[in-house]
């Protein structure tokens, strides 16, 4: 078998065309229900979870999770973080969390728990919050049952509020003097 530049070029052309066809045929995944980012340091995400009517899981009917932006220092540290990963996408992140628990869809929260932590994983596509887990792909909300247990049961579903609605919610929760 002899090497011919012309045949080699033809082979390369066919391979390139084939790879382009394969790329073009790739299915596009729909965006996840809870589209939050591990790399965004300034994002403020507000996730509203609603318990399914009649669900026996011991959870407040409505729980709102506020994922805070990173602090100034944490934002600066991302430089080092990025250097260590050499530009590879970050797969996990931990964000400060405030939990607002409501007895009804409207009105003031029955309980507010600040200073909590939310763990985001792009590998598992989950957000782990104290006593619960949110599936980012489907929006499914699973709560520890009984409270404090490690076993989780589906309680309802969650939605990520649009940015404007999230800001409006946070303004409404701000303490009034």
């Amino acid at each position: 078998m002899t090497f011919s530049p012309a045949s080699a070029m033809r082979r390369i052309s066919v391979m390139l065309l084939a790879s382009l066809c394969v790329q073009g045929a790739q299915a596009v995944d729909p965006p996840p229900a809870i589209n939050v980012s591990e790399i965004c340091t300034t994002c403020q995400d507000v996730i509203r979870c609603t318990r399914d009517p009649g669900s026996p899981v011991p959870a407040y009917p409505v729980v709102v999770y506020y994922l805070h932006p990173h602090s100034t220092w944490e934002q600066i540290v991302t430089i080092w973080d990025y250097l260590i990963r050499f530009g590879k996408p970050k797969q996990e992140d931990t964000r400060e969390l405030t939990i607002y628990e409501f007895m009804a869809p409207e009105g003031r929260p029955a309980q507010i728990r600040g200073g909590q932590a939310a763990k985001l994983s792009a590998v598992k596509m989950t957000i782990d919050v104290p006593g619960a887990r949110i599936d980012r792909t489907s929006g499914q909300w699973s709560v520890a049952d009984p409270p404090g247990a490690t076993e989780l049961r589906t309680a309802g579903s969650c939605t990520l509020l649009p940015v404007a609605d999230g800001f409006a919610f946070l303004r409404s929760m701000a303490p009034t003097s």
């Binding site: 589209n35 980012s37 965004c40 340091t41 300034t42 994002c43 990173h70 100034t72 220092w73 934002q75 600066i76 540290v77 991302t78 430089i79 990025y82 250097l83 990963r85 050499f86 530009g87 590879k88 649009p162 940015v163 404007a164 800001f167």
Partner: protein, 180 residues
């Protein structure tokens, strides 16, 4: 004394700026340490931008629709009434291919400039231009302030003369502003 004098005086090329060597460091521990740290910072800065550039090639930033997805998503993450939202919507997103080219080749230029000490001051200016635009485009965070200040060091100080290709190129082309 002779060692100290030879290490601080202009070298054969007539360049008054010292060339960073171990000999220079021994003779000028304080200044040498400062210069060494600036060069280390420049190298890390180059690595940082190299990582960014590699990522842009992997994501097909120049020819694919990845930047469009990224910018559109970013628009949903930031305050819709803010200036970055307007900048994203009216300028970045309609020109995402152009932005993809500018960012990719800009990051390559900064990485090459910083790692080789080639056109170092210009590379610093390009880095500042890119990062200011990242901020305006809704990607502002505190790390960009620090990175801009670091880039400013490479614009102000002759780090490419301390170590890098700028030194030799400046000797050959003394009037060219690129190698100053």
């Amino acid at each position: 004394m002779n060692t100290l004098a030879s290490a601080t005086l202009p070298d054969d090329s007539g360049n008054p700026r010292p060339r960073f060597t171990l000999k220079f460091l021994r003779a000028n521990p304080l200044r040498g340490t400062g210069i060494g740290l600036a060069l280390l910072l420049r190298f890390l800065f180059g690595i940082f931008f190299l990582g960014g550039a590699v990522n842009k090639f992997q994501r097909n930033y120049m020819f694919g629709d990845y930047p469009l997805e990224l910018f559109t998503r970013r628009l949903t993450e930031i305050d819709p009434t803010s200036f970055p939202a307007l900048y994203l919507e009216k300028f970045i997103i309609p020109n995402y291919h152009l932005i993809g080219w500018v960012v990719t080749w800009g990051e390559v230029a900064v990485a090459v400039g910083m790692l080789l000490g080639l056109c170092t001051r210009t590379a610093g200016l390009i880095a500042i231009f890119l990062m200011v635009n990242f901020s305006l485009g809704g990607y502002h965070d505190a790390s960009l302030i620090v990175l801009n200040l670091i880039a400013l060091i490479f614009v102000v100080l002759p780090t490419g003369h301390w170590r890098g290709l700028d030194r030799g190129l400046h000797a050959r082309h003394p009037d060219a502003i690129w190698f100053k």
